[in-house]
Subunit: 202 residues, 2 copies
DNA sequence: ACTTTTGTTAACTATTTGGTTAAACTATTT
DNA sequence: AAATAGTTTAACCAAATAGTTAACAAAAGT
């Protein structure tokens, strides 16, 4: 067993992930990451030379997880409605398990547009072309109402991700307790696909 | 004319708004705010004692703008479908004019949950109870499919706001240029309401 | 006129913070 | 066991940064 005691390199990465995701690049402190990893601050610099590089390691790892997760379903060989069901269910489940991840990615991408361009060109970056064709076919066959694949895709992602990103705000508006709100998120695993399919189905 | 030369207090607030919205509380620098306002850094502290207080002034002002804007339509005396149309159109238009605002509010609220609680109790904080009743009535009258007002509200906000918050990400996915993406946002002013109404209408 | 209050600045201070160094410690090789 | 390479730490360092001070200027009272 190799992870009897996690090695420092991964302990650092885990601690850094937590700190960066909670506080963002600008708000996170190297000392805090070191403390959370239970090691000396100099060791951070030993493994990852600078804050910037440590941040990029965390960010890339985050994207390596979430990117393929998205592409996987989008490019699967499934009928459109089923695909929407699987996608939203999978994805909401995934985000429930990693609640800080979307806000983190979005915030840092907003801070650093160059970073965004770079990501787009990564080979792991999800492709929507298959999904796009599928939507266009469904429209021309009269199965769904006319809508561009881009608009539909944006609607799906929005309705899936935003309830996590905007949780504090939405909890405020709806005056729900944390438990009630989490229950509601859980229900969305199936409710969201239903909503979207109703919106496009003829 | 009183704003011949804007007074320093508001010049500071404007500069601070820009910096905080672009870089967040943690990323913004007092010196940068002073430079952008064209004044000495000490003057920031003269008017707003600390970075924290300046930040709160900016944040509260931001919420003072966006909060009532939301409540206004939600509590208006309009039939449900029309309300959805007016709300999405108004709100998308508003966010086009203030594109950094939602990300800013969301990020800072995620950083500081106490802040969120405090806001909820503010009298300016929008109420959804009228909207809630309206949705419940529409459901029981069989006008719309069964859905909780909270879920519908979350869907509306998500689909309205997320395309702005997640713009860099969504631009990446859809491979659209900035212009194409902006055009698409413009189209959403009407398309979004249609989508939502189709989703719930029986 | 002069006194007081308000506004403004340059220079300074204290602290935080990312990053370095040199030494100590540990495992691995020879 | 000695040498070597890899790992870890305490103590530092330099730059950045929020905040202060003291002097000065302008405006407002008197």
């Amino acid at each position: 067993m190799e992870n009897k005691t996690e090695n420092n390199e991964t302990k650092i990465l885990i601690a850094a992930k937590n700190c960066f995701q909670k506080k963002g690049m600008a708000g996170a402190r190297m000392q805090e990451i070191a403390d959370e990893a239970g090691i000396n601050k100099a060791l951070l610099h030993y493994y990852y030379r600078s804050k910037q590089l440590l941040f990029e390691a965390v960010f890339n790892q985050a994207f390596k997880i979430i990117g393929p997760k998205l592409g996987e379903v989008l490019n699967a060989n499934l009928p459109l409605f089923e695909k929407i069901q699987v996608f939203t269910q999978n994805y909401i489940g995934f985000v429930i398990a990693h609640p800080y991840l979307p806000s983190f990615i979005i915030h840092e991408l907003n801070q650093n547009p160059k970073f965004a361009k770079q990501l787009t060109q990564d080979e792991r970056f999800p492709e929507i072309s298959i999904f796009k064709k599928q939507v266009e076919d469904a429209v021309s066959q009269g199965i769904i109402r006319p809508i561009s694949a881009e608009q539909l895709f944006i609607n799906i992602i929005s309705i899936t991700v935003f309830p996590f990103v905007g949780a504090p705000l939405l909890k405020g508006f709806t005056k729900l307790t944390d438990e009630a709100y989490n229950l509601l998120l859980e229900q969305r695993k199936t409710a969201v696909a239903e909503f979207i399919i109703n919106a496009i189905k003829i």
